[in-house]
């Protein structure tokens, strides 16, 4: 996903003019293109879709998926739900924080972000996580270190 300036996203918004029910679809499309939904676009989105700015802002901030700032180059999303807990996801989380020096759901820098999520549907193969949207199951600390290193190499060369 290549970062884009807000202006290049205007034609995308134009395609949904007058279709307020398409707000989630539009936000997903903007985020797929730009990596996030620039907050300066809220007024344009609202006016094109016949919505109030509060409604657009409300949707943008209600859902966990939408971001209003560029994501880190590598994003790790670890499942913290019950099935993964039963197979040691909390110990894995502690390892990940120690290994990376970052905190889960804390402030993000440009290189790495750690996020907690709740269920990837891999509950019989716990613990599971995503690294840049790629799914891994039965993750051990050693396996994590290897796949993170690979993701960071790919991130650096991209």
């Amino acid at each position: 996903m290549a970062p884009q300036s807000s202006e290049t996203l205007l034609p995308v918004i134009e395609r949904y003019a007058g279709k307020p029910a398409s707000l989630l679809v539009l936000l997903h499309e903007l985020q797929d293109l730009a990596g996030y939904v620039p907050s300066e676009l809220v007024p344009q989105i609202a006016s094109k879709l016949n919505l109030s700015r509060a409604e657009v802002h409300g949707v943008l901030t209600y859902y966990h998926d939408f971001r209003d700032s560029p994501p880190p180059r590598v994003v790790v999303k670890l499942c913290r739900a019950e099935a993964c807990q039963s197979m040691g996801t909390e110990a894995l989380a502690a390892h990940i924080e120690e290994h990376t020096g970052c905190r889960f759901d804390g402030k993000r820098d440009g290189a790495l972000g750690l996020e907690s999520i709740y269920c990837l549907g891999q509950c019989a193969q716990s613990p599971a996580l995503l690294i840049n949207d790629r799914l891994y199951a039965k993750v051990t600390p050693a396996k994590f270190d290897a796949i993170l290193a690979r993701a960071q190499e790919e991130g650096a060369s991209a």
């Binding site: 029910a21 707000l23 949707v59 998926d65 709740y118 949207d133």
Partner: protein, 517 residues
């Protein structure tokens, strides 16, 4: 030419199935062996994934937990002829985990190529839809009522009665909505259905459309399931090209269109009215009922809303008849339940069985005990809002009424197993914490009650005024249970109270039920 099956669903992909497929193709070429690789779905024997099957004269022979680095070794062992190897599990159909199951809804998963329309037809596909097209709406609803099918998403409302309400409603436009926002930890049956047999869901939804007069359908899939979304989109395109969907379904003159909608990471959107709000492009906030969605659902129009497994169970009911399905099960729980065995368990996976099986059978005969090898302490049944069952309750048959009688829920049939290292007070606090994170915020008991719930449980754990705080926790749970608008706040007390009741020692309380642990 030897045919190999390498799954393409996300449980196999998460463990390297794509790398294995590439390694198999490369190794076969290097050795001059002619192979055809079919990317099937998962059989649901998830502890064996990636499970590669080789078609032989005896049947499809399976090799479990295949790793890309060991592919050459498997060729050396003569696997193309079903040769011996440490990872060989024998003919997959004969595997005891699979052979003892009663697969109706999941009859095709792992066997077919999920995206092959020919494969679907060759395995009984569309027989249900053809039957439904030949019936009038009222008779079709009666058939579904007779089958005893109840919603498999959790609330267990009779599907046929819901459909009949939509059929009888007068409106210019009606909808079918599939709730594929499977956000409960320990549940993956919807995902397996969508990724491994998407045409089954498409057929079920089309039947719902032609029976009730709805011409548009939406599948609302959580964004955490990108593989399911991609598979469904591709399957819908192929179904449309084959004339199964569109303006003239199977040449009947009836129209049905299907669209996939992607969620955006909100657990509460699995609640049907919040899901409808989200599908309308709004914040996924719960609506007060009535009106019920069957009368005023999507965009205020009559709407059939069922989850994936419910809709995917419909084709076989129409194909085989109501009695065929009703003959499975017990009491008022008819047919089969797709049980998802997960968490700390040796042999986790999908088990489809008639209602009535017990947890003890599932945990031991199928699951083989805890993955850690330690004693099992508690099983949470029915997702994060379900109760924790101690060993004293493992002989209760899985049946909606039998579970309700002890204050438990069958829910979606997801089981999460915890061994004796689990602390139930921590899990109870987590249940409240999850409600804090995921409450839609519309009603006070859920929004505020969950925040207070975390605080109170922490005080109990720290031993601050313990007796008083336990009393407060009970009152708080009672308020959430009776005062919340939907199951999010209304059922969060279930895991909390069951943990407190059955595992008091984990809260630092005298263990009067210690024997139960």
């Amino acid at each position: 030419m030897t045919r190999l099956y390498i799954p393409r669903d996300s449980s196999a992909l998460a463990l390297g199935a794509d790398e294995i497929a590439a390694a198999v193709a490369a190794e076969a070429q290097r050795r001059g062996e002619s192979v055809e690789i079919v990317r099937n779905g998962s059989r649901g024997l998830l502890w064996l994934e990636p499970l590669v099957e080789v078609e032989t004269a005896q049947g499809r022979v399976g090799y479990g937990n295949v790793e890309p680095e060991r592919v050459a070794e498997l060729f050396d062992a003569g696997w193309l002829a079903g040769g011996e190897h440490a990872s060989r599990i024998g003919v997959v159909d004969e595997h005891p985990y699979l052979k003892r199951q009663q697969r109706l809804t999941f009859a095709r998963i792992g066997i077919t190529d999920p995206l092959s329309t020919e494969d679907y037809l060759a395995h009984g596909g569309l027989a249900g839809l053809r039957r439904a097209l030949a019936l009038d709406g009222a008779a079709a609803c009666e058939l579904l009522i007779d089958s005893g099918l109840r919603g498999r998403g959790g609330a267990a409302f009779p599907a046929g009665i819901k459909w009949r309400t939509v059929l009888q409603a007068q409106a210019a436009q009606k909808y079918v909505v599939c709730n594929a926002d499977e956000g409960d930890s320990g549940t993956f049956a919807d995902r397996l259905s969508m990724e491994s047999d998407p045409f089954g869901l498409i057929e079920g939804m089309t039947i719902a459309g032609v029976v009730t007069g709805a011409t548009e359908g939406y599948i609302y899939v959580r964004s955490e399931y990108p593989h399911a979304i991609a598979t469904l989109n591709e399957a819908i395109e192929r179904a449309r090209a084959a004339g199964w969907l569109g303006k003239d379904v199977l040449g009947s003159g009836r129209a049905f269109e299907l669209t996939v909608a992607k969620g955006a990471g909100a657990y509460v959107c699995g609640e049907e009215t919040a899901l409808l709000e989200s599908l309308e492009g709004k914040r996924g906030i719960v609506r007060a009922k009535p009106p019920i969605p069957a009368l005023a659902g999507l965009f205020g129009q009559p709407t059939v809303i069922n989850n994936v497994v419910t809709l995917a169970s419909v084709p076989i009911i129409f194909a085989q008849g109501a009695a065929f399905y009703r003959d499975y099960g017990m009491g008022r729980s008819r047919g089969t339940l797709p049980i998802q065995l997960a968490g700390n368990i040796k042999q986790g996976g999908l088990i489809e069985l008639a209602f009535g099986v017990t947890l003890r059978e599932l945990l031991h005969d199928y699951g083989g005990g805890a993955a850690s090898g330690r004693p099992i302490k508690a099983v949470q049944v029915g997702g994060p809002l379900g109760t924790y069952l101690p060993e004293s309750q493992w002989d209760i048959p899985l049946d909606y009424e039998a579970y309700a009688a002890v204050g438990a829920v069958v829910g979606h049939g997801g089981l999460v197993v915890h061994d004796d290292t689990a602390n139930l007070a921590d899990l109870a606090r987590y249940a409240m914490h999850f409600c804090v994170k995921e409450s839609c915020g519309k009603c006070t008991p859920c929004r505020i009650g969950s925040v207070r719930g975390v605080e109170v449980i922490e005080k109990i754990q720290r031993g601050e005024q313990r007796a008083q705080q336990v009393k407060l926790l009970r009152e708080l749970c009672d308020t959430m249970l009776s005062g919340s608008l939907c199951a999010m706040g209304g059922m969060t007390p279930y895991p909390v109270m069951s943990a407190l009741e059955h595992f008091p020692e984990d809260f630092g309380l005298p263990g009067q039920h210690a024997a139960a642990a």
